[in-house]
């Protein structure tokens, strides 16, 4: 019987060996996999125990974590929620997060690679883990002015420094209060979230860098003009045909200038300068057909169309439609209609390229990342996206845009004593749909660097009677003035 007992003893040893192996596998080898496993409540809660770093503007927090007496230990609070909602995004315990909260989560929660040793150090010195602070490039004054100027309208403003890519203002209205989503009561959070989601004005959409993008309309003419100048098929003052109406080739659709049935300017011929100043459609439709969609697309892509910029949250890629397009479609894209779609960020980049001598800078919101002991983990990341066109083309475009403000249809963007370059747009969304109103421009001085783009959906509240100059240019002017004055 003893032999049998020994055999069973070996079997029991084998059973326990299996348990030793299985627990070792789980507790040593699968730790990282399991930590990221589906519905891992422990990992979620562990995130909340970290004192999340603040989001700062000029050292003042617009988002910060405050100790609270519930299972989450800290609660996120936003100093001026709706004003900055397009920037900060929201941070929830169970519904994910957006904006800087999401894009800079690794740094804010202290889990980025560069924070590894700092975190380890705090662990051994018995301090609670804390995330890094993210300082933004936003100019608080410009942001407030843009937000106030948009008021109750549905739209967005983006302003940035064309030389560095630093974003100065980013507003999307209607905004929302992220405080409503950061509370500990998850049912209430879900309620608020669903209400925001169901709101027909789409407050959760960040129109500055995404959402349902608008057709750019006449502001897209800058892209066509850039391509035409680069290709040498036109100069600002070379003569262009000047018919009163033009039927798109291969179609029955008739293109009109802004005053229906009138030619562009009073002359027998017109030119690029007049066409930009008066925002005529026919010359640009004709130039577009002459260029062909491939060349327009190539210029658009050099300016950033088709690219998802990381600001650091991902901006939707603006769209120039895939080819091949027929001549009628290409003609419509000449003044930013058909399937062209753009974000305000993209249109600000177009202005920025002109202001910056043809070079597109990668836009960013992050100025620096600072550890809790104020060591800089990361400075401002200035990088070039690429050169879109020559400096000559840039200066030609600049002079025409200045004309558009000083003596053309973008007159509402004028600022006393400073040259302002600008271009308006009034884009159609369909026969009975309200227009999308646009303005993009920049301050044409060597000392102040600001390029801006404004979009107003729903015709700026005026349906089909709104114009880019009437509403959008005024807002652009106020934001640029705020930076100049500030």
């Amino acid at each position: 019987m003893n032999r049998n007992i020994r055999i069973v003893g070996v079997a029991v040893l084998g059973m326990f060996l299996a348990l030793f192996i299985s627990t070792t596998t789980i507790q040593v080898f699968q730790v990282n996999n399991l930590a990221n496993g589906p519905e891992n409540r422990r990992s979620q809660l562990a995130d909340y125990e970290i004192e999340r770093g603040p989001i700062l503007i000029d050292g003042t927090p617009i988002a910060s974590s405050n100790p609270v007496n519930n299972m989450y230990r800290y609660q996120r609070s936003y100093a001026n929620g709706p004003l900055y909602s397009a920037v900060t995004g929201y941070y929830t315990y169970t519904q994910g997060s957006t904006g800087i909260e999401d894009a800079m989560n690794a740094e804010l929660s202290g889990k980025s690679d560069s924070q590894f040793f700092a975190g380890l150090n705090r662990l051994f010195t018995g301090q609670t883990p804390a995330g890094a602070a993210v300082e933004l490039t936003i100019n608080a004054n410009a942001q407030q002015v843009a937000y106030d100027a948009l008021g109750d309208l549905r739209g967005s403003v983006v302003a940035f420094d064309p030389a560095t890519g630093a974003i100065i203002a980013m507003v999307s209205t209607p905004g929302y209060d992220p405080n409503g989503l950061s509370g500990p009561d998850q049912e209430q959070v879900l309620d608020t979230y669903n209400q925001l989601l169901a709101d027909p004005n789409g407050p959760l959409q960040n129109r500055a860098i995404g959402g349902d993008m608008n057709p750019p309309g006449s502001v897209f003419k800058l892209v066509i003009a850039a391509a035409a100048l680069e290709e040498g098929i036109a100069t600002p003052d070379s003569p262009l045909e000047n018919p009163a109406t033009w039927t798109l080739p291969g179609s029955t659709a008739v293109v009109n200038n802004p005053s229906h049935g009138s030619p562009c300017g009073s002359g027998e011929t017109t030119n690029l300068r007049i066409a930009i100043e008066q925002s005529c459609n026919i010359p640009f439709a004709q130039l577009a057909v002459q260029l062909g969609d491939d060349k327009i697309r190539a210029m658009a892509e050099k300016l950033g169309f088709g690219h998802e910029f990381k600001v650091p949250m991902t901006a939707s890629a603006s769209i120039y439609p895939d080819g091949p397009l027929d001549d009628a479609q290409t003609g419509l894209t000449g003044f930013g209609q058909f399937d062209v779609r753009a974000t305000p960020l993209q249109m600000a980049l177009v202005s920025g390229a002109i202001a910056n001598g043809g070079v597109v800078m990668n836009p960013t919101l992050v100025e620096s990342v600072l550890t809790p002991d104020l060591r800089e983990l990361q400075g401002q990341q200035v990088s070039e996206f690429g050169r879109a066109f020559s400096a000559e083309t840039a200066s030609a475009l600049e002079s025409m845009m200045i004309g558009s403000v000083s003596s053309g249809v973008a007159s509402n963007a004028r600022i006393d004593g400073v040259d302002v370059a600008g271009k308006t747009g009034t884009a159609e969304n369909g026969d009975d749909e309200p227009y999308s109103l646009w303005f993009t421009g920049f301050v044409a001085t060597d000392t102040t660097h600001i390029a801006v783009a404004v979009v107003l959906e729903d015709g700026g509240g005026m349906g089909q009677s709104g114009t880019g100059n009437g509403s959008a240019a005024t807002i652009g002017q106020q934001v640029m003035k705020a930076v100049l004055d500030g």
Binding site: A11, F16, T24, P38
Partner: protein
């Protein structure tokens, strides 16, 4: 092996031979006392650390009840000095350590419940059950002067086991809220009769196999190099198999079913030494498994949750893999050295106090802590096997083997289920998990093993078979 005499009827042939192989009684008991002091120190330290970890301070008032438990185990020690001086010195301290660790973890879960604004009180209940269990162990030590007495109760044990197994099915007694119908409720008390039944079964199996081993050892035909028994000798194993299947079908209790069948198979193997019984047993398990998998929804479900706990459908399903998954996350959260007592999040795993207590322990004590716990079980089981190995009569050997194997087997079924070695079945982890009947049963097992070990050493070597 010589032919087996009728041991129950045999006169006590033990003679205390001067100069025969005997150990110093004093030495054994002093070793036990030292280990017991150590075990109690671990228990108190664990309770206080739980408090420090969970609430950041000490409140020495909570030591009162643990002190009573400790005093009771010292009583067992003193009782042993008088009525079983040669008893194994490791069994009592190990049982005390495991029981203490279990109470500490339940106290930890209580504190977590309080933090979440709920009431639980697992620890106080567990300490009362422990006290009852330890007192029961003392009673058993007093009543059971000679284990061979149990042989007379062999058929009564069988009847008792069957009665206990049927109890939960009696209308009005069974607790039908639970998924598995293994509980009975009498007034405010819940009782899991299957836990007590395992002792009765071990007694019955040991007694039955002592008388039947000759017949069962008879070789029939040879197949695939293994000698198989005659067809007519298959009846007992078929009966046990049928009973276990009954448990599986009517009580929906996979764990208990596995526990009993495994116990019978191993005891049968120890008695006969025939591998063929194991092969037949495994074939029967396979048949039962395939039937259960195809015709019993919950068995099918368990297997799926075992194979792919990460399947989103499985996670969300009622009775799916959510619990297993959260327990795995808890173990992973513990890692090598654990989060520290009172500092993990064991409450996230549903019903961490019973089937999943090992995951709560793994989260706070880490792999290091679990290895210690497994090693304690292994030593406890090894001591039991040692008693079987040195045993003086076949009944005692089989009984010691059977009882210690139930502990090993039960640990394997529960912990293997939690760590995905086998599908999750659901049994209590001996000494650790919350549950009065389980504690009572295991303390009775401790008492029987102590009595057996004393008998073994009291008997001079030359008197043994």
């Amino acid at each position: 092996m010589p032919s087996t005499p009728d041991l129950a009827a045999a006169p006590d042939t033990r003679v205390r031979v001067p100069g025969g192989r005997r150990r110093s009684t004093q030495g054994l008991r002093n070793l036990e006392l030292a280990l017991l002091v150590f075990a109690v120190a671990i228990f108190f330290a664990a309770i206080l650390l739980v408090q420090l970890g969970a609430s950041g301070g000490f409140d020495f008032n909570v030591i009162t009840m643990p002190a009573i438990i400790a005093a009771l185990t010292f009583c067992v020690h003193i009782v042993l000095r008088f009525i079983a001086p040669q008893a194994d010195p490791f069994i009592l301290p190990i049982a005390m350590t495991l029981n203490g660790i279990g109470i500490s973890m339940l106290y930890r879960l209580d504190l977590a419940h309080v933090a979440a604004g709920e009431e639980s009180g697992f620890a106080s209940a567990q300490m009362i059950y422990t006290a009852v269990g330890v007192v029961m162990a003392i009673i058993v030590l007093f009543l059971l002067k000679n284990h061979r007495v149990l042989l007379r109760f062999m058929y009564i044990s069988m009847a008792l086991a069957i009665l206990l197994l049927l109890l939960p099915l009696v209308p009005g007694l069974g607790d039908h809220d639970a998924a598995a119908r293994v509980w009975i409720s009498i007034g405010p008390f819940n009782f899991q009769p299957g836990e007590i039944a395992k002792i009765a079964l071990a007694v019955f199996f040991a007694g039955y196999l002592v008388t039947a081993r000759e017949t069962l050892s008879v070789v029939g035909t040879k197949f695939l190099g293994i000698q198989f028994p005659r067809l007519r000798d298959l009846a007992p194993i078929m009966v046990v198999w049928a009973v276990c299947m009954g448990v599986l079908v009517f009580q929906r209790d996979l764990g208990t079913s596995m526990l009993y069948f495994g116990l019978f198979l191993v005891m049968m193997f120890v008695a006969t030494g025939r591998i063929s019984w194991i092969v037949i047993g495994l074939v029967l398990v396979a048949i039962g498994g395939v039937l259960a998998y195809n015709f019993m929804g919950y068995v099918n479900f368990r297997v799926h949750a075992w194979l792919d706990p990460f399947d989103p459908e499985m996670i969300d399903a009622s009775g799916g893999s959510y619990q297993l998954l959260q327990s795995l996350y808890g173990l992973a959260n513990g890692g090598l050295i654990g989060q520290g007592l009172g500092q993990g999040r064991p409450l996230i795993t549903p019903v961490a106090e019973s089937d999943f207590i090992i995951s709560a322990l793994g989260e706070e004590l880490g792999l290091a802590g679990l290895f210690v716990i497994f090693s304690l079980y292994l030593i406890l089981v090894a001591r039991g096997f040692r008693i079987g190995h040195q045993g003086i009569d076949d009944f005692g050997r089989l009984l010691a083997m059977g009882l210690s194997f139930t502990i090993a087997w039960q640990v394997f079924i529960v912990v293997g289920g939690v760590t995905r070695v086998i599908p999750l079945t659901g049994l209590t982890t001996p000494f650790l998990a919350a549950g009065g009947s389980s504690l009572l049963a295991n303390w009775i097992i401790v008492a029987i093993l102590l009595r057996l070990s004393d008998t073994v050493r009291q008997t001079p070597v030359e008197d043994r078979e």
